[in-house]
C-alpha cells in the first residue's frame, strides 16, 4: 500500500536512499519489511531539489510506471543527483481490474507552477462516494488540473487550496496548518456521507525548503467485514524517522550520524535498514515538521487531533 520517503539535509546522493541501504525505498517496492502482504509495483516517482542545479527552486522530477528495481536510468541518475531535499514514492495498487497504473497517478504530485509536492501512503475508503463533495473546497483552477484517478491527487489539490497562495512558497507553519485544515475538511465530508471506516492518510509534503509529514488515520480500527484491505489495514500504517548529522555508511552499516545540532532528517514508511536502532517510530496521530533554521535543522513532532 505504497511506501513514502522524504529527506531534508546535507547534499546526499539519491542512491544512498533508494538503492544502497538493505531496505532502501526501491527494495521496499518488491520486499517491504512492514505490511509485507502487499507489494508496491504500481510505479515510482521522485522530486529532488538540488541547490547547485539550474533553477534550484524547481525540483528534478522522475516518474515511471516500470519497476524501479529494473530501471537502469534511475540507477544511473540516482548516483549523480545529490539533493538537499527529496520526496519519493513507490506505489502500491490493488491486484484488481479497477486499479489504474498510469503516469497520471504517480506520486509525488506537483501541479505546474506550484512549489508544493505531495506523496501519500494510505487510502480513503469509499472515496468515489465523497470525491465530488470536495469540489466546493478546492479552488476551481486547481480542480481543473486533477488528471488522475487517485484520492491522493485530490488531497494535494485540497491542501494547495488552503494556502494563501497555492503557487507561492508557504512557510512551514502555514503548510502545517493547511494540512491539518484539509484533514478536518475530509473528516467533515466523510461524516456528511456517513463514511466511518478506517482510512490511513500518511502524507509527505515539501517545498524543497521544509517538510511536513503526517501519520494519521480516520476512524482507525473500523472496517467493512468483506473489505479487501482488511488484513493489510489492521495495523496502523507505519512511519519512521532518522535525525542527525548526515546519512552515511560506517563499518558497512548505513546510519544517521550523531550530531549536537541535527543537520539532516529522513522520514520513511519503514526504516531504510533492517537494523532499526538508529531510527525512531513516529507516534500514531502525529504531524512532523522540519525546516532549516538559524541553528541548523529545526524538527518538531506534535499530536494531530483533527
Amino acid at each position: 500500500m505504497c511506501r513514502v520517503l522524504a529527506y531534508l539535509g546535507e547534499p546526499l546522493p539519491v542512491r544512498n536512499l533508494l538503492f544502497d541501504p538493505d531496505n532502501g525505498l526501491v527494495a521496499q517496492s518488491y520486499s517491504p519489511q512492514m505490511m509485507n502482504t502487499f507489494l508496491n509495483l504500481g510505479g515510482f516517482g521522485m522530486q529532488a531539489w538540488d541547490p547547485s542545479s539550474l533553477r534550484p527552486d524547481d525540483p528534478f522530477t522522475y516518474r515511471t510506471t516500470t519497476l524501479p528495481s529494473f530501471d537502469r536510468n534511475l540507477r544511473f541518475l540516482s548516483a549523480k543527483v545529490a539533493p538537499t531535499c527529496l520526496v519519493a514514492h513507490v506505489r502500491g495498487v490493488t491486484y484488481t481490474e479497477e486499479a489504474v497504473v498510469a503516469d497520471t497517478n504517480l506520486h509525488p504530485f506537483r501541479f505546474p507552477g506550484a512549489r508544493l509536492v505531495l506523496a501519500h501512503n494510505g487510502h480513503l475508503r469509499q472515496f468515489t462516494r465523497m470525491r465530488y463533495s470536495l469540489v466546493g473546497h478546492v479552488r476551481p483552477e486547481l480542480a481543473e488540473r486533477i488528471e488522475g484517478t487517485t484520492d491522493s491527487e485530490w488531497i494535494y489539490a485540497l491542501i494547495l487550496s488552503q494556502l494563501d497562495d497555492p503557487y507561492g512558497l508557504p512557510e512551514t507553519r502555514e503548510l502545517a496548518e493547511a494540512t491539518a485544515a484539509s484533514l478536518r475538511i475530509l473528516r467533515q465530508v466523510r461524516a456528511a456521507h456517513g463514511i466511518d471506516t478506517s482510512s490511513p492518510v500518511n502524507l509527505c509534503l515539501s517545498t524543497g525548503r521544509s517538510l511536513v509529514a503526517t501519520r494519521f488515520s480516520f476512524d482507525y480500527g473500523w472496517y467493512p467485514p468483506d473489505d479487501e484491505f482488511l488484513e493489510t489495514d489492521l495495523p496502523f500504517v507505519s512511519l519512521w524517522y532518522a535525525l542527525g548529522g548526515e546519512y552515511a555508511e560506517r563499518d558497512g552499516r548505513w546510519q544517521m550520524t550523531a550530531a549536537d545540532v541535527p543537520r539532516s532528517v529522513i522520514i520513511a514508511s519503514e526504516p531504510l535498514t533492517r537494523d532499526h536502532s538508529s531510527w525512531l517510530e513516529v507516534p500514531e496521530y502525529s504531524m512532523l515538521t522540519a525546516e532549516f533554521g538559524s541553528r541548523g535543522l529545526e524538527f518538531e513532532t506534535r499530536d494531530l487531533d483533527v
Binding site: W222, P225, L234, A258, R274
Partner: protein, 323 residues
Amino acid sequence: MSETEAADFLATVPFFHGRDDADLVELARALRRRTVSQGEILWRQGDVARELVVVVDGDLSMTLSVPGERAVEIGQAGPGDIVGEIGLLDGGEHTMTVQATQPATLLVFGRHDFNALLTRPDRSAFELKRRLALQLAGRLRNQLAQLGRTLGGEVSAADQDCGRPLVDLEPSGPPDSRYLSRMAVFHDLDPVALWGFLTSGSYAICPPGSTVLEEGTRSTACYLTINGAVEKVLIRGDRRVRVGLAGPGKAFGYEGLIDDRPSPVTAITRERTLLLVLTRGPFEQLFGREDTIARVFLDVLLRDLVSNLRLTLRPHARLLSSV
C-alpha cells in the same frame, strides 16, 4: 556443572517451579553450559534470536541502542533470571544487547528446545505459558517504570478534561462474525472454540476520549479491542507519553489480572471503540483452563505481552534520544 547440579539449580529458578525431578533432569540434559568473561557480549540488539539463557551466577547488563550512536542500560539480570526469551517467542530479533558485567555462568536453551517445551501435549506446557506470562508482565512493568522515571514527576490521574470515567462504556451487541474470523488473533480457533471464547465476555462501546483504566488502580477486566483504538499512556504531571496503541486484536488491562498488581498504564480510547470485556472471573477461568480455547488465549496474551515489550522500547528510544 553436572546434569544433576543443573537440575538442582533449575529447581530454584521461579520460572521452573512445580516441575518434578525427572522433568528437571530432562530439561538439564537439553541445556548447554556456557561461561562468559567480563565484558563479553552474548548477543547484540537486532541479532536473530537463537537462544535464551538462565543466569547461574554473575551479572548481565541489557542495553538499548538509541539514535545518536548511544547505548542506554535498560535492565540487569542476575542469578535465576532468564534473558532472551522475547525473540524466541515471536521468532524475531533480540531487542537489546546483552553483555556480562562480571564473569558469569549461564545455562543456554536453544530455540527448538524452548519451543518443544511450550508445545508439549501435556499440562506442563500450560503451566510454563502461565509462568511466562507472569514473567513477561513483570518485565513490561519494569520497562514502563523505567520509562516513567525518564519522564520524571509523580504518577497522576488521567486529565478529566480529556477522559471520561468508566461508566461511559455502553453495552453493545457482538460484532460481525465475518470480520472476527479475519482477525489474526482468532485464526487458531475453530468456529466452535471462537464462539466459546467470544461468549466468555460482554461487549461495550465507548466514544473517543474515554478513560477505561487508570495507572495505579486495580483493573477489573481484560479488554480486547475489536474495533477502534485505545491509547496506553503514562502521565506524569503535564507530561504524557503514549506507550502503545491497542488497535483491533490487541488487549490491555490484563497485567493486573495476571500478577494481582495495579495497572502499569492509563488506557484512554482514541477512536470510538468496541471492546470485548472479560471480567476477572471469566479471565481467570480462561487463564487457568487447559483446553484448546485456553491454549489460544494464553498464546494471545503471550503474543500481546511480547509485542508490548517491543513497542514500549520505541517511545523509550524516542525519549532517551531527546535527553
